[in-house]
Symmetry: C2
């Protein structure tokens, strides 16, 4: 279903740029949530920028793009900026999601508190394994993939979380898209092609471990320097 | 075990800066791997920068920090830069890891191909549930947490992957650290405190879904603009 020229933007240069910018918005939101917890009412672009390793100019540019202008010497209001970042990110309302793949990973994701906390509700679960048909997990009955066509519109499932093996991921993605899903969160360690109208985010757990390996290596190098110095 | 002044850097301003810089190195590596697959031998800092939404100056600064200097008009050699980034990131050699928590998520991670592909080997699995004791998953026998002390040094387990509930995460982290683990990859949706000598990376799956929600929202806004125009 995906042609060479409408490959998911995730795999293109434009996708990388967009991903970097979006990630910054999420990081600003996390920072603002942290500031609110410690009782801060205002923040300057410099204060927001420094902990993230960014320039104040970058922050001002990102926020101005969404119509937000801090005042010199006064900065941004934490609560106001937070709520409008939620609006921009689209997380100021709940999202209904399908979970496809009810194996170990799928069952783990069903119980993942971090999804519910951010307003993501898994409202239907699907698996192609007939042995799972009609079994229930977290109060939801496992449906076959043929039910996607009926349940995606009925339950207004906008997103699908793909917890399927790499070799099944593209076919399952195609079926979810055909049923009307407009966003895919894929845990399969493979690239997913989708039409330009469908957003795809791939979770690369290997990259996370790589980050950890780097930090351990760096700390060891620092310790060696310190004990040599 | 963690005091207020030796909280994991992940939760501090310094940690955020370091995390942003490290993530850039991983993204450069992914880009270089992609370029190699399409047969490119050289790349300029501008070409590396643009798809990532960064400036060429940022890339040059990051790479110069690790001793790499592209030549004007010639750029970087893809293979050489790749191999030295692997060295800097510490992924030019295998890493042994413990998996703690052999529930649904843990079992899913055990079979995750993306770890093995990047050189991460789970060599022992632990769970505090006596019902799991001595059961085998992916060829590994489930050990009790008391075995950490003996097996971490014996199997040279440098990293631990924590796939335990939020309320157990800190205690399990403490035990792994005490046994000698120097890096933690935590999937628990909670902050982990650790001494400064231990690296902690937390995987925030909620943030990934937030990225997806944003992209779907943006695409809808663009479609509305197009149909209005």
């Amino acid at each position: 279903m995906a042609k060479a020229d409408d490959l998911d933007s995730e795999t293109t240069a434009v996708g990388e740029t967009r991903r970097a910018a979006t990630l910054r918005l999420s990081l600003y939101l996390r920072q603002l949530e942290r500031l609110e917890r410690i009782g801060r009412a205002r923040v300057s672009s410099k204060e927001l920028a420094e902990p993230l390793g960014l320039s104040a100019a970058q922050i001002r540019k990102d926020l101005a793009y969404f119509g937000h202008f801090g005042q010199a010497g006064v900065g941004y209001e934490v609560a106001v900026l937070q709520s409008s970042l939620r609006g921009v990110l689209g997380v100021d309302r709940p999202w209904n999601a399908a979970l496809i793949g009810v194996g170990n990973l799928g069952r783990a994701l069903l119980g993942y508190r971090g999804f519910v906390d951010r307003g993501f509700r898994i409202r239907a679960i699907f698996d192609r394994d007939p042995a799972l048909a009609s079994k229930r997990f977290h109060g939801l009955e496992v449906r076959g993939l043929n039910d996607l066509k009926r349940l995606v519109p009925k339950l207004q499932l906008e997103l699908a979380i793909l917890a399927v093996p790499a070799d099944a991921a593209q076919e399952v993605a195609n079926r979810a898209i055909k049923a009307g899903v407009v966003g895919l969160l894929s845990f399969a360690p493979t690239a997913i092609s989708a039409p330009a109208s469908v957003a795809v985010v791939s979770v690369d757990l290997g990259l996370q471990l790589e980050q950890l390996a780097f930090r351990v290596s760096q700390q060891r190098a620092n310790q060696r320097k310190q004990s040599a110095g």
